[in-house]
Symmetry: C2
């Protein structure tokens, strides 16, 4: 795997407001929202007629919406027919892979300006429930029949991490508290409340409905998160350890070095792309607390870009569950195994810390429309690196180097990108 | 869209026996069969450890098998974890697109040896019927609710072609008769009988069961195909105009020019790749009798390779319905609009004709495991160009130039490749 033979830049990026939109908005409506948002972000000279190809990530509109073959349809909405349009699927890493293949297309000289999209509408679900549809990304012959859905699989990862490294419930709460804090600053996030605001909201509702006063009234977020208001989903993971069920779309315009400057004076260069795979089944892996696909993808992306973990200033990592953020920070080399929770506890991964993680709010509060997530991570990095993140979310230093980490299933797919100015 | 910056060769290719395999064989079993077949076809020095990446086409294991995220699983079976593994979906063009993106990966210098796969098991269908699952590749908001499934959509194409060009039932029968004749020579085909053999078989069974003697007894294939033994599925398309419901997998090894000679003295070079898109809905198109996606894909592939329709000596085209083969021959420039049926009638597209089409038997008799079809088309071309097609299927001349044409849905996606020795 060599270097990219041509430089590739993001010149525009945007997303729909994430939320639970069905039936008001469907896949095609959310895609329109994302497209308009991305088009508006391009500084100058943008003409959709110059776009040569669509790379679309979607996990399973097949199961969620009984819609497959989305790429030509979304190309139609973007006015791109009869140009090429391809859908990429690798569970929750689907649009990360669309981004990767777009980068390769431009680097190869096949194209100069392309559209990358991610799309998922999870709340329609006409025939199956969401957890069942998501479970199709696990080993449905050997793992799912044994009763393991994704909360259960990541619960096994969390339990193993607790066993091996002494990780505590509170360490996972810290991830959630931080990501709620970030999401509150993101106008595109599904949940725009801090944990304190969530507590206030619940108190107000309890009073209004004449329910007994929760024991955590007047307490800290830890008191709240340790209470029955935060029930176990799959031990040791509780409700606030889980990402959201979300509808949303994201879109990015990628350009070759030959044309990028036509559209912006501040292109964000994608300098490394890495992809790894692992067995679908957790049971087939040597370790539960480290993901081989992440390690392989990181090695490739870092080798390609010439960067290392120490160069990265901010990152969006795949926090489908709080434990996944912990494992990612370790597998990416930001922390030694078992040490990420210390950095998190000391605030290093907060917006004002030395390595802000998931400034968008992450999958935890921005939301996790599964096939959209990889593209949406790149949208956040694009905004942060251009200094244009909304509200008080913008980090206080100039970001020269960033990274996105997008995971599929229980880590059977990983795609990582590095970004530089 | 430029030339390929590096030459790309097929150095091995194989497929599982196509058929209706559930529950004896599932996706993973068929994939093993295809892998072994492809590995056995590599002339020398093959080591799976040299393979760098998997490009997998699958339409909707989501709906057919409640399995998504197939790429890392199939990579595991091939021993490729933690290397990259990506699934591509564009309905029946899924593995054609996997092949295309593999070509781009090698041409870009990212990889030197990759595995391309196609896989589909259509006969499991735990929750929906096959026609309903396939219909998810049409516009499921605007087209499917109006009652149009794929036989209906292609019936509209056939009716329009009959209206515009005077095409007759017999012209479509000719496509079926030829493809049955070819499939009878393919040990990997789902149906290995000529129409005459089908007639004999049906007569024998009718006699055995004491049923009345069919009127077409002693008659020609046309008598049979015009009878109630060939019932209408969606007028004017009858049973023998439709491709089959099939389980099967295919696999190809692609190599860069730098390493191809290590594996074979007879690499088959992919010299052109083209992809096009169109509106999902037939109603949104200007013409029903010509597919814009095919025309766009052909233009790109021909421009890239420097070839034209007249250079092509054999082709595998996407005959999901007999009318689709007719339209493809016209859209690809082999015949003027309305004239393909004349060439077909005069035997030009038979194995001993001047332009053999679908020597494999095509989707009509080889079978149509939808996401596998694009890769399986390339398998046939690989065999024919190396002079190693089984039984009496090998064409009698040396094939220097060939083409595959892989369609998704009712023509909303098309991917075309050209091959040279």
């Amino acid at each position: 795997m060599g270097k990219l033979s041509r430089k590739v830049a993001i010149v525009g990026a945007g997303m729909s407001k994430f939320g639970q939109w069905w039936p008001i908005k469907q896949n095609r409506d959310l895609w329109q929202d994302a497209l308009i948002s991305a088009m508006n972000s391009v500084d100058q000279n943008f003409d959709m007629n110059d776009v040569e190809e669509l790379f679309l990530g979607n996990f399973t509109a097949d199961l969620f919406n009984h819609e497959s073959h989305l790429a030509p349809l979304m190309a139609q909405i973007a006015g791109l027919n009869p140009k090429p349009a391809t859908r990429f699927e690798s569970a929750c890493a689907s649009s990360g892979l669309a981004l990767r293949h777009a980068v390769i297309s431009i680097a190869s000289g096949m194209t100069d300006l392309v559209l990358v999209g991610g799309i998922e509408t999870m709340t329609e679900v006409p025939t199956v429930d969401v957890t069942d549809a998501l479970a199709s990304a696990s080993d449905t012959r050997l793992e799912y029949p044994a009763g393991a859905t994704f909360p259960g699989l990541y619960a096994a990862v969390a339990t193993a991490h607790m066993h091996e490294y002494g990780t505590k419930d509170e360490d996972l709460f810290n991830v959630a508290i931080k990501n709620y804090e970030n999401g509150a600053q993101n106008p595109f996030a599904q949940v725009q409340m801090t944990i304190e605001q969530v507590m206030e909201d619940k108190l107000r509702k309890a009073e209004k409905r004449g329910k007994p006063t929760p024991k955590w009234k007047g307490g800290t977020p830890y008191d709240f998160l340790r209470s029955s208001s935060n029930p176990y989903i799959a031990y040791p993971l509780r409700l606030f350890d889980c990402s959201l069920v979300t509808d949303g779309a994201a879109a990015l315009f990628l350009a070759s070095e030959d044309v990028a400057k036509k559209y912006t004076d501040t292109p964000i260069w994608i300098t490394g792309t890495g992809q790894g795979s692992a067995t679908l089944q957790l049971a087939d892996r040597k370790s539960l607390t480290s993901f081989g696909a992440t390690k392989a993808a990181a090695e490739t992306a870092f080798q390609m870009s010439g960067l290392g973990p120490k160069d990265i200033q901010i990152a969006e990592v795949h926090d489908c569950f709080t434990i996944a953020e912990v494992v990612a920070l370790e597998d990416l080399g930001f922390y030694e195994k078992g040490k990420a929770v210390v950095g998190i506890r000391e605030g290093e991964t907060k917006r004002d810390g030395k390595l802000p993680i998931n400034t968008s709010g992450g999958l935890k509060t921005k939301g996790h429309p599964v096939g959209t997530t990889g593209a949406a991570q790149a949208v956040e990095i694009f905004k942060q690196m251009r200094g244009r993140a909304e509200r008080n979310r913008q980090v206080k230093f100039d970001v020269e180097c960033a990274l996105t980490h997008n995971l599929g299933g229980s880590g059977a797919t990983c795609v990582i990108h590095t970004y530089e100015k």
